[in-house]
């Protein structure tokens, strides 16, 4: 039974919790979020944060312990088959495709399984192969494809029935820069031009920063932050700038360890001639303390730079401290 939503959200999670049987920890704890039409929502979190569990619950592959998940108004527990028809998913760590079949054969098979009418299927496959730039390679067995080509084909397969929602679990994992860039372009086209709602999980902050409209940060199964990328950066940049201090010479590891104990959040990138220290959220007085400390240690400061924090730094800051929104 399809229920009327208060808004047009493609996906809506309300107080969703998942505890795997026999597990001591809760994988996902009371999450609520909504994915709007044409929106790219990035689900960010460290390994084991609950990202894949969340995606699989939305896809109806994992049952939530409590809470409600709706995809275009269909309850994913009570009405899974109808809800699933509204979405396509490419899951991480899986082939998603039959490697012994060619690209076209895979699309024909999965298209039939998704009940795309036979008369429309060939045309749909042609469109999708063109979209993901694989028309020239459509008769080659998928096992001979590069990782990037396989990933693009998996997205095409997930799009066969023209779903409104696309779930992409680590879509650029293992791709080289060029392949990742092309995939990003495809994802952007699907959201911006075709109005698909796209939820993607990623470890690549740059991908989230450049592509996502909103970012949902999850840590140990709990929501840490949920805002637009710009809002998130603005919020943290309001009182937190990143300070970069370049010090002459390669700092000893014991010195760096001691420094990090005294000034939480400092990261150090030592190389042969200099050491770059980055501190995402210091107050000016604390920066002065750090500079004094470096001076006491006879470190020669070559350069000090204050700049806005990057999403990656915000992410590290939030997940390391487990802050709540």
């Amino acid at each position: 039974m399809r229920t009327k939503s208060e808004d047009n959200a493609f996906v809506r999670l309300a107080n969703v919790t998942k505890t795997y049987p026999g597990a001591k920890k809760t994988a996902v704890d009371n999450l609520s979020l909504a994915l709007q039409p044409g929106e790219i929502l990035a689900l960010l979190g460290p390994n084991g944060a609950g990202k894949t569990t969340t995606v699989k619950m939305i896809a109806g592959l994992v049952l939530p312990s409590s809470g409600n998940i709706q995809v275009r108004g269909f309850d994913m527990v009570q009405d899974r088959t109808k809800g699933v028809r509204q979405l396509g998913a490419v899951l991480e760590g899986a082939r998603n495709l039959y490697w012994r079949l060619s690209a076209r054969e895979n699309l024909l098979y999965f298209g039939s399984l998704r009940l795309v009418p036979r008369r429309d299927l060939n045309q749909r496959i042609d469109e999708l192969l063109k979209l993901v730039d694989l028309s020239d390679h459509q008769h080659i067995e998928v096992r001979k494809y590069s990782r990037g080509m396989q990933q693009k084909l998996a997205i095409a397969a997930a799009m066969l029935h023209d779903p409104n929602v696309l779930l992409l679990d680590e879509p650029t994992l293992g791709l080289d820069v060029q392949a990742a860039r092309k995939l990003e372009e495809t994802i952007a086209i699907l959201a911006r031009e075709q109005g698909k709602g796209i939820l993607l999980t990623t470890h690549t902050m740059l991908l989230a920063e450049t592509l996502a409209d909103r970012v949902f940060i999850i840590h140990e199964g709990q929501e840490v932050a949920f805002a637009s990328t710009q809002e998130l950066l603005k919020k943290f940049n309001g009182n937190r700038e990143a300070t970069e201090i370049r010090v002459d010479g390669r700092m000893a590891e014991s010195t760096i360890d001691f420094l990090q104990q005294m000034f939480a959040g400092v990261s150090a990138a030592p190389n042969v001639e200099t050491t770059m220290l980055t501190w995402p959220e210091p107050k000016q007085s604390r920066v002065v303390d750090l500079l004094k400390y470096l001076d006491e240690q006879d470190e020669i400061i070559l350069e000090i730079n204050r700049r806005q924090a990057k999403l990656e730094e915000v992410f590290i800051s939030l997940t390391e401290r487990g802050e709540k929104k």
């Binding site: 592959l61 049952l63 699933v84 998603n96 024909l108 067995e141």
Partner: protein, 265 residues
């Protein structure tokens, strides 16, 4: 609805053909193995029977052997298909199709059944010619064969259901399948009154093999078979295994979704 189901059966048939194309020697090796296997067993029986291994006995063994072979293929292919899909991650994509997964499994089963009927028929024709056997083909023999195999699919679905929850269960399939060859009277009739005979009555193939031997070796008509209590026992065991398979597979899916283990293997 029927058109969509036929579309799924068509897609599965087409995928199976592509799979065979990718592994052409698997088919040839399989056929050769079972063809030679029966000839060796036949020779062994000839020696044991001290030359008194009649054509009727040989034909009865062939009927049992090929019925088992079809069952063995259907069982292994059904279970291995699922474990391969789980390993490759395609199982989750099948679950994401928006169809009832059990509907897809039925479509797959139809294709697997047809595929193994064809394989068995090829072996049958070759062996009948080679050994100079004279089988009967009474009306209804295909129906009895079909009922016999449904019970096997019930077992396959049960293993699939258990495998979704307890990941190592599929490893038992080959042992179970091989055991069926020896404990169902497929090669040689079991002595009535023994414990093994009583056990075999509750296994999916035993009643069907006995009826098929009656029909193909002795030409017993389907009308006579229908009067045989053994036929109703076949229907009962087929029904029981079919229902049990359906229920266990549904249970396995629910538990796997709760455990998040659909893609694990």
């Amino acid at each position: 609805m029927i058109a969509f189901f036929l579309q799924i059966v068509g897609a599965e048939a087409w995928r199976e053909l592509r799979r065979m194309r990718a592994y052409p020697f698997d088919f040839l090796a399989d056929q050769t193995l079972f063809l030679i296997g029966f000839l060796l067993l036949s020779g062994l029986f000839q020696v044991v029977a001290e030359g008194d291994y009649t054509k009727e006995a040989q034909l009865a063994s062939l009927v049992g052997f090929l019925t088992w072979r079809a069952a063995d293929g259907c069982l292994l292919r059904t279970v291995n298909g699922l474990t391969d899909d789980a390993q490759w991650g395609t199982l989750e994509q099948v679950w994401l199709s928006g169809l009832l997964p059990r509907l897809i499994f039925i479509a797959r089963s139809i294709v697997i059944f047809i595929s193994y009927v064809i394989r068995v028929l090829i072996i049958a024709v070759i062996l009948i010619i080679l050994l100079g056997l004279s089988p009967h083909y009474p009306f209804g023999v295909a129906l009895v064969f079909f009922f016999t195999q449904i019970g096997v699919f019930g077992v396959a679905y049960m293993i699939v259901g258990f495998h979704l929850v307890y990941k190592s269960v599929a490893a038992m399939t080959m042992a179970f399948s091989t055991a069926l060859l020896f404990v169902t009277g497929a090669l040689a009739p079991l002595s009535e009154g023994t414990i093994l005979y009583s056990v075999s009555r509750f296994l999916p193939l035993a009643a069907g093999i006995s009826l098929l031997q009656e029909m193909i070796v002795f030409g017993t008509s389907f009308e006579k078979i229908v009067e045989d209590p053994n036929f109703y026992w076949l229907l009962a065991t087929t029904f029981a295994y079919g229902i049990a398979g359906w229920v266990v597979m549904g249970w396995g899916q629910r538990i796997a979704r709760r455990h998040g283990s659909l893609a694990h293997y």
